[in-house]
């Protein structure tokens, strides 16, 4: 079967699977939903009030019909009501998402603009001391968790520069672009650090692969300069694995901002998930997890489609 068609057909199927998984897992939480919602106040309910509430939220119905109701709500953009905020889950997500998106985009820009040149540089100096140093740094970078980098950055800034990064607040990009980027720059470095290291490694090995190809030898033999061979002939092909990595990684950045947003006290989507989990706001957990998984899947689908556009061999041969 055509790869693109197959990919497009399985996408809704997996999305459906994800929704079942999220729904079922929240139902597996011990204790009943009303107690979870009201906390200790649930003890004050009379049995009649309790069953009225159950009927109101539809939890007196069988599980599959609850699922169908929830699913049809999803299609209408109804993700339920958050018990912490008393607002529709979707509205809260829309409020928090721009920060996380901007953070992910900024870390990606940082990672690519550091990682690709470093990787290319190392590849052109294969096995020389400068290559070994870049590789060591990349290995070290890949082994450093974001929370270690984040804590170290805050430490260095506050002890050596007497500067405390802005925490807890966020200016939207369209209100004041400079302030907005300034607020997110250290969190973005934190989040992009390990990513930059993997970009360096991938672009280095992709570049080495491409540089040993026949067409590069042809280019060299017709007298192209080293600079033109590396940047004009080799780089476009060496970038294909980098594109794939970036796509997958971008999905992770959207979800993985949890820890970084926690360190820098940023009111983004990751922090929202964490708050929802620690405060047992199940509608919010369900909604945010589903939203992030949806984005993750969508980005991966787009990357795969872009990959097909870049490399026609996949279109014909299947996987």
């Amino acid at each position: 079967m055509n790869y693109v068609v197959q990919r497009l057909l399985t996408f809704p199927l997996i999305l459906l699977g994800v929704s079942v998984l999220v729904f079922v897992s929240i139902r597996m939480v011990p204790g009943d939903a009303i107690t979870a919602m009201l906390g200790t106040e649930a003890g004050l309910l009379t049995p009649a009030q309790r069953s009225a509430l159950a009927a109101y939220f539809g939890i007196d119905q069988p599980v599959w019909s609850q699922y169908l109701r929830w699913l049809s709500g999803l299609f209408q953009g109804d993700l339920g009501i958050s018990s912490i905020y008393g607002k529709p889950v979707l509205a809260i997500i829309i409020e928090r998402f721009p920060l996380t998106l901007q953070l992910a985009l900024m870390s990606m820009v940082i990672a690519l603009s550091v990682g690709v040149p470093l990787g290319v540089f190392a590849a052109t100096r294969n096995e020389k001391p400068s290559d070994l140093i870049v590789r060591m740094l990349a290995m070290l970078g890949q082994s450093t968790p974001s929370f270690v980098i984040g804590v170290l950055i805050i430490y260095v800034l506050s002890v050596f520069f007497g500067f405390v990064p802005a925490m807890g607040t966020f200016t939207p990009l369209f209100v004041d672009p400079l302030a907005s980027i300034g607020q997110l720059i250290f969190p973005a470095i934190t989040l992009g650090f390990a990513f930059a290291a993997s970009v360096t490694r991938i672009s280095r090995s992709a570049m080495l692969d491409v540089l040993s190809d026949d067409y590069i030898r042809t280019a060299r033999s017709k007298g192209a300069s080293q600079r033109s061979v590396v940047w004009r002939h080799a780089l476009p092909n060496a970038l294909i694995p980098v594109v794939t990595l970036s796509g997958v990684e971008f999905g992770y950045l959207l979800g993985g901002a949890v820890i970084v947003e926690q360190i820098f006290a940023l009111p983004g989507l990751g922090r929202l998930v964490l708050d929802a989990i620690t405060q047992r706001d199940y509608a919010l957990v369900q909604g945010t997890v589903l939203f992030i998984a949806f984005n993750f899947l969508l980005v991966n689908l787009l990357v795969d489609l872009a990959y097909v556009a870049l490399d026609p061999r996949i279109r014909i041969g299947g996987r």
Binding site: T10, L13, I14, L15, G17, V18, L21, V22, S25, I26, M28, V29, M139, L140, Q142, S143, T144, P145, S146, F147, V148, V151, L152, I154, Y155, S158, V159, S205, L208, D209, G251, Y252, L254, G255, G256, V258, I259, Q262, I263, V273, L274, A276, I277, T278, R280, Y282, V285, V289, I292, A293, F296, L297
Partner: protein, 280 residues
């Protein structure tokens, strides 16, 4: 086996990686046996926030507990969680991947689509979802990391298993009347050891990272049991007065992950001759 070890010791990153892992395992064993310089839970009230000295090698924390001893127990905790979760993930992932490849068509489709659903979540998010259901703790961390990694092992096994299945020696074994479990374990699994070994080592690095991340968020190992992530998180408010509380846990986490990453890379170079020249 001896040949492998010798190749390992010739490989620079393999040598460093193995040394680090050996040191961490030693610390974990000593931590388990209670052979730490001091009692990791005991409060030395008069010695609060002492900088590193001959008495307290890595200093003490706000409650006067010895950082070095706490790090040893933290390493033990991390190692137990990492090894048991990766063992579970390897077991289940391998079984699922093998069966999907062996049974083929319908079962392959069903099993691998379920794996795709699990892979649709960013790893940390899936772990958080599981913690939201079961509540935080050591067992939950193990289960969460195992569930996150199972589909990855299933994929690593399924691909090569599919191509092995069509090789002549498997056909021959079937013609001779070998039983299915025999073919699966003898002919398929044995040939999958190399890719699995690489994946296991890299998974261990990732499991250490995730365990530290979860306990950093307060959702992993619960106090008073020392854990590397929690020690780092607690150091945040004291970093100007007591930087040693931050530096040592941070280095311990980094070095441990580095050790497994280096070993994994070395394994890949040694076991996969194609990449040998390039990435060595």
């Amino acid at each position: 086996m001896q040949k492998l070890l010798r190749a390992f010791l010739r490989h620079p990153s393999g040598r460093i990686g193995l040394t680090i892992i050996a040191l961490y395992l030693l610390a974990a064993v000593l931590g388990t046996l209670g052979l730490t310089p001091r009692d990791p839970l005991k409060l030395f009230a008069i010695d609060r926030l002492k900088p590193p000295s001959a008495n307290y090698w890595f200093g003490t924390d706000l409650l006067g507990r010895d950082t070095f001893s706490r790090l040893m127990v933290g390493i033990k905790q991390s190692m137990i969680i990492a090894f048991s979760s990766v063992a579970l993930a390897t077991l289940f992932g391998t079984i699922i991947g093998l069966l999907a490849a062996w049974w083929g068509t319908l079962w392959d489709g069903i099993l691998m689509r379920i794996m795709d659903v699990l892979l649709a979540f960013p790893a940390i998010l899936l772990a958080l979802l599981i913690i939201a259901i079961v509540g935080p703790g050591t067992g939950t961390s193990v289960a969460a990391i195992a569930i996150v990694y199972t589909p990855i092992f299933a994929r690593v096994v399924r691909g090569p298993a599919l191509s092995l299945k069509q090789r002549d020696f498997v056909d021959a074994a079937r013609t001779f009347g070998s039983s299915q479990p025999y073919i699966l374990s003898r002919h398929l699994l044995l040939n999958l050891v190399a890719p699995l070994a690489v994946q296991v080592t890299l998974a261990l690095a990732w499991a250490l990272l995730t365990e530290a991340g979860l306990s950093f968020l307060g959702l992993g190992t619960q106090p008073p049991t020392p854990s590397l992530g929690l020690m780092l998180a607690e150091s945040k408010n004291l970093m100007t007065q007591a930087p040693w509380l931050m530096i040592f846990p941070a280095l311990t986490i980094m070095l441990g992950i580095l050790g497994f990453n280096l070993t994994g890379d070395a394994l890949r170079d040694i076991l996969d001759p194609r990449t040998q020249r390039r990435e060595a």
